[in-house]
């Protein structure tokens, strides 16, 4: 009897072990708990991001009386489109959107071209001192735009390429303010907003592409230009999409440079900027002003939101392949 017990105990333990290794209850519970915790966390993060947009959307359709009614949380009782019509009128919405679109699309295209060229140059076409020049690119990321703000402003006020224009005409230079030219010039020369970052992205991306691609092109008799345009660029579409989206969106949202160079033009960020004071001039009532500011903000981000809705799938996928990293 006494001899049999440890034996039976051992066999029972073996059965338990076997059961454990086939069903793995501890691992399963751990896994389920982790999935619950993860979903909880991710849902929380998403909620934080989505909540302000949803609340804006709900407020946009509310009547003025509904704001102070504490029984109304999400769905307005007096559904109204008045806020939206009023905001469209005050923002000069359609003209502002068209102008902002021209501005953003133009800068995006120019920046993609100039930054892709520079990025490829830094990644593959090494020349003497290219490391130092790249350090200067990083330097342009770090330097705050305020440091060169005043001279750049005056530069575009009296625009002149190294004094050549003044030499030939005797005038102090062309006034480029209130036009798209300050943006287009700085984009074409890869000096626009955050362009150092874009050059960095392109450089990392081109460095990540296999060298054999180019070598095969060279062996087949293609020159450097041809191999760049026919082989490297088609492979760089994910990076180009990422940079194009960044530069379009950040230009759209930018108010710093826009209010600096185009202080009196009808562009979206400018109209939003002056909206509060314009509204207060019409009606001196804070809740109404806030209601319309809310609607106007929603209208301003609506095109970007729609663009993202269509582009996000491609964008998120491209991030995985872009290899934003070193």
């Amino acid at each position: 009897m006494k001899a049999a017990t440890p034996n039976r105990g051992a066999s029972a333990a073996a059965t338990v072990r076997e059961w454990n290794s086939t069903y793995r209850p501890v691992d399963k519970v751990k896994n389920v708990l982790w999935v619950i915790a993860r979903s909880f966390l991710l849902f929380g993060i998403c909620f934080i991001i989505i909540y302000p947009i949803l609340s804006k959307l709900s407020i946009a359709f509310k009547d003025r009386g509904d704001i102070f009614d504490s029984t109304i949380v999400w769905i307005p009782r007096h559904f109204t489109m008045d806020n939206i019509y009023k905001a469209i009128e005050l923002l000069d919405y359609f003209e502002a959107v068209t102008n902002t679109f021209i501005l953003s699309a133009g800068t995006a295209v120019l920046q993609v071209i100039s930054c892709a060229l520079a990025g490829y140059g830094f990644a593959r076409l090494k020349f003497k001192g290219s490391g130092i020049v790249f350090a200067l690119v990083v330097f342009t990321i770090v330097i705050p735009p305020q440091t060169i703000m005043a001279p750049t402003y005056l530069h575009f006020r009296f625009f002149d390429v190294f004094g050549l224009y003044g030499l030939f005409t005797g005038k102090p230079g062309v006034n480029l303010l209130e036009s798209y030219w300050p943006f287009f010039i700085s984009s074409a020369t890869a000096m626009g907003m955050k362009n150092g970052l874009y050059i960095y992205i392109f450089r990392q991306f081109f460095r990540g592409l296999p060298k054999e691609l180019e070598e095969a092109a060279y062996v087949d008799g293609a020159g450097i230009l041809k191999s760049f345009f026919k082989v490297m660029l088609p492979n760089a579409i994910p990076a180009m999409a990422t940079v194009a989206l960044f530069s379009f969106v950040w230009q759209w949202n930018d108010d710093y440079f826009t209010n600096l160079y185009m202080a009196n033009s009808v562009v979206l960020s400018k109209m939003l900027y002056i909206l509060p004071s314009n509204l207060l001039a019409i009606r001196d009532e804070y809740s109404y002003v806030s209601l319309l500011i809310n609607t106007a903000t929603l209208l301003a981000i609506a095109p970007i939101f729609l663009l993202y809705l269509f582009a996000q799938r491609y964008f998120v996928e491209s991030v995985e392949r872009t290899g934003l990293v070193g």
Partner: protein, 300 residues
């Protein structure tokens, strides 16, 4: 023969290299180097605009003197900006690494979650964030919502603080995290690009490393600290630099500098302030990068 051809290709490459970068070089000289030089000159002078451009009058260190010792707002907003940065950047780095790790795992609805989390990259910047901050209605409704939560659930941050203090945690740590909870929206919205960078980095780690560690019996927690974290250290450096630069890109100081230039039309003082600001940012970047880069692990 073959060697000569190789050499000529190399030379050709370097010529084309300069050619490819030439737009940037022109831009750098025209829109960066010249303005930088001019901005230094402005900061030591008094600038007056007249019909034929502008004229400068040398005044020495007077502008810097004015910025630091006469102006009442500059010092204050500068310290405020630096404190804000010091508080936020560690949290942003931690949060974005954490979120990127979560997002790199496979689960249902991953695409949707990712696109929502990257939404702040395209949304929260510039004038919109500014308007939101000053929006009377939004803040009023936010307060109302806070009150409701505080009344009905008893789970608001304010009740947690005394509890943690009673539990014997250090006062400063408790308040740091309590404030972090209050600023969670700010932190989430300003870590979009960082999550992007971390996510791309995590996905470029070879899966064979994880398989090997799993064979050796490492748990997910261990493999995070022994594989993911060391491989991410170069990106932590990149992201720290990005977050610091980003946090100094637009704040009260920059608005103030802009106001001085374009409202008061005092370009000299504004240039002096912006140079002081730039030097301060450079020092902070230098210190933080030297601290971090000592601990960075490079795989190859």
């Amino acid at each position: 023969m073959a060697k000569k051809r190789l050499l000529s290709l190399e030379r050709k490459k370097s010529v084309y290299g300069v050619l490819f970068i030439s737009p940037w070089i022109i831009g750098f000289l025209l829109l960066m180097a010249v303005p930088l030089y001019q901005s230094i000159r402005f900061s030591f002078s008094e600038l007056t605009i007249n019909a034929s451009g502008y004229s400068l009058e040398y005044v020495g260190w007077a502008n810097f003197n004015k910025a630091f010792f006469v102006d009442t707002w500059f010092n204050r907003s500068l310290t405020e900006a630096v404190t804000k940065m010091l508080l936020n950047v560690p949290l942003i780095i931690f949060f974005s690494l954490f979120t990127a790790t979560l997002l790199s795992q496979k689960f249902r609805g991953r695409m949707l979650t990712r696109s929502i989390i990257f939404l702040p990259v395209v949304m929260a910047s510039g004038v919109i964030a500014g308007l939101d901050g000053s929006n009377y209605l939004a803040s009023m409704m936010g307060e109302a919502a806070n009150d409701m939560e505080g009344n009905y659930t008893g789970l608001s941050g304010f009740d947690l603080i005394p509890f943690l203090l009673d539990a014997g945690m250090s006062r400063s740590i408790v308040f740091y995290f309590a404030e972090a909870v209050d600023r969670i929206y700010q932190i989430v919205t300003s870590s979009g690009v960082q999550i992007l960078i971390f996510l791309a980095g995590i996905q470029s780690i070879s899966p064979s490393l994880y398989e090997a560690s799993k064979m050796e019996g490492a748990t997910g927690y261990e493999s995070f600290w022994k594989i993911t974290f060391p491989m991410m250290t170069p990106l932590i450096l990149t992201n720290t630099v990005y977050s610091i630069v980003d946090s100094f890109y637009k704040n009260n100081v920059t608005n103030y500098i802009k106001d001085i230039a374009f409202r008061q039309l005092n370009f000299g003082l504004s240039s002096a302030m912006s140079w002081a600001y730039f030097v301060l940012i450079s020092i902070i970047l230098l210190i933080s990068t030297t601290i971090i880069s000592k601990r960075v692990f490079y795989y190859d």
